[in-house]
Symmetry: C2
């Protein structure tokens, strides 16, 4: 029974890694679609979101089957419950990538944000992509140092999120209302994307070390 | 054992109802804080959010204890897993109310949105408050007709969310950039609040009837 259980836990973990990798590829496409105004990549990202939703649903069913069959307790139980929560957060990260891609698609063939904000969004996108790759790696290796790095990267995303507002609300902002709306939403989506990654990495860290890092 | 289990399920349900009632009171305060530029109510809403987070955490621990002790299967297991998910969504609804209150606090003593948008936000707020009360009632009574009503009310919130963008992006919009940013964020928070309510009511409906209503 224990061996079956270990194999099932491994299957759960592999499933989470698979979804995280798809999320990483999805935010990468979304960021390029956004920066380069590439409608094909935008469509792909939106399609990826359906795949992510489907995989998350499958993973949840696996977790529920494990709970029913194995009656895990203590740490084992927390692993399975965490898998359910992690899949929900990954699913939301896929949504955020799709939302960013949708902005690119709406504005096509125009670019979403005016020139003055493009470096900021390029950097936010780069950080989100990096965070997503580190998250997949963290789920694969349980290397908790990655959790720390993800939190630091998230701080940078938060700072850029504030920088977007500083720019948009500053006196030199030349964008129209549509630019303001798009920049506000896109920045929020990037920020939420990184937040979800932090929330997942705290769960992994907790499972790996038993040290609870309170949600901030 | 079965009796203990039923009592524990009842405790879970009572916990969800309690959180939902607090969320309803919180969105009510947030909406008034926002409309009336009332900083005291804004502070209260932000304080409520901490209480909601604490109650959600307690409820999750109860659900995990039930899973460990009772090894529920089939429908019973799905009830407990759903409670975990519902508490996560309620917790997010509390976050949205707090975000709306924060906008009111940032802009105090100014009002958050210009006159032309106030009726739209007043109506969005009214609908979100109504939805939150219906959600608490649905969790208490499992009356699935309420799930249907919540979905209809959410459609109205979605329509108002689009109406905000129509107004902001229309030719008659006289608001400054700060008004555009605030209206965009506030509208998004209201829309997400109602979305979470729909997602919860689908879960309750599924548990009550066994009919799966796919996430849209």
């Amino acid at each position: 029974m224990r061996e079956v259980f270990q194999a099932e836990l491994r299957e759960l973990q592999d499933g989470l890694v698979q979804i995280a990798e798809l999320v990483a590829s999805s935010i990468d496409k979304a960021t390029r679609a956004f920066n380069e105004s590439n409608v094909t990549l935008a469509e792909e990202t939106i399609g990826d979101d359906d795949r992510i939703d489907g995989l998350a649903l499958k993973l949840d069913e696996l977790a529920i089957t494990i709970l029913a069959r194995q009656n895990p307790v203590a740490r084992d139980l927390r692993i399975v419950v965490s898998a359910l929560r992690i899949s929900a957060s990954l699913e939301r990260m896929g949504d955020m990538a799709a939302h960013i891609a949708q902005l690119a698609r709406y504005r096509f063939p125009d670019k979403v944000v005016p020139k003055s904000l493009r470096p900021t969004f390029a950097e936010m996108g780069r950080l989100d992509v990096e965070i997503a790759h580190m998250l997949a790696e963290l789920l694969r290796t349980q290397d908790v140092e990655l959790a720390e790095t993800i939190r630091n990267e998230d701080d940078k995303v938060d700072a850029l999120h504030l920088a977007v507002f500083d720019k948009v609300l500053g006196e030199t902002w030349k964008g129209g209302t549509v630019d303001t709306v798009d920049a506000t939403l896109a920045s929020r989506y990037h920020e939420r994307f990184a937040d979800h990654a932090v929330s997942i990495s705290k769960k992994v860290q907790y499972l790996a070390t038993g040290d609870w890092v309170p949600e901030s």
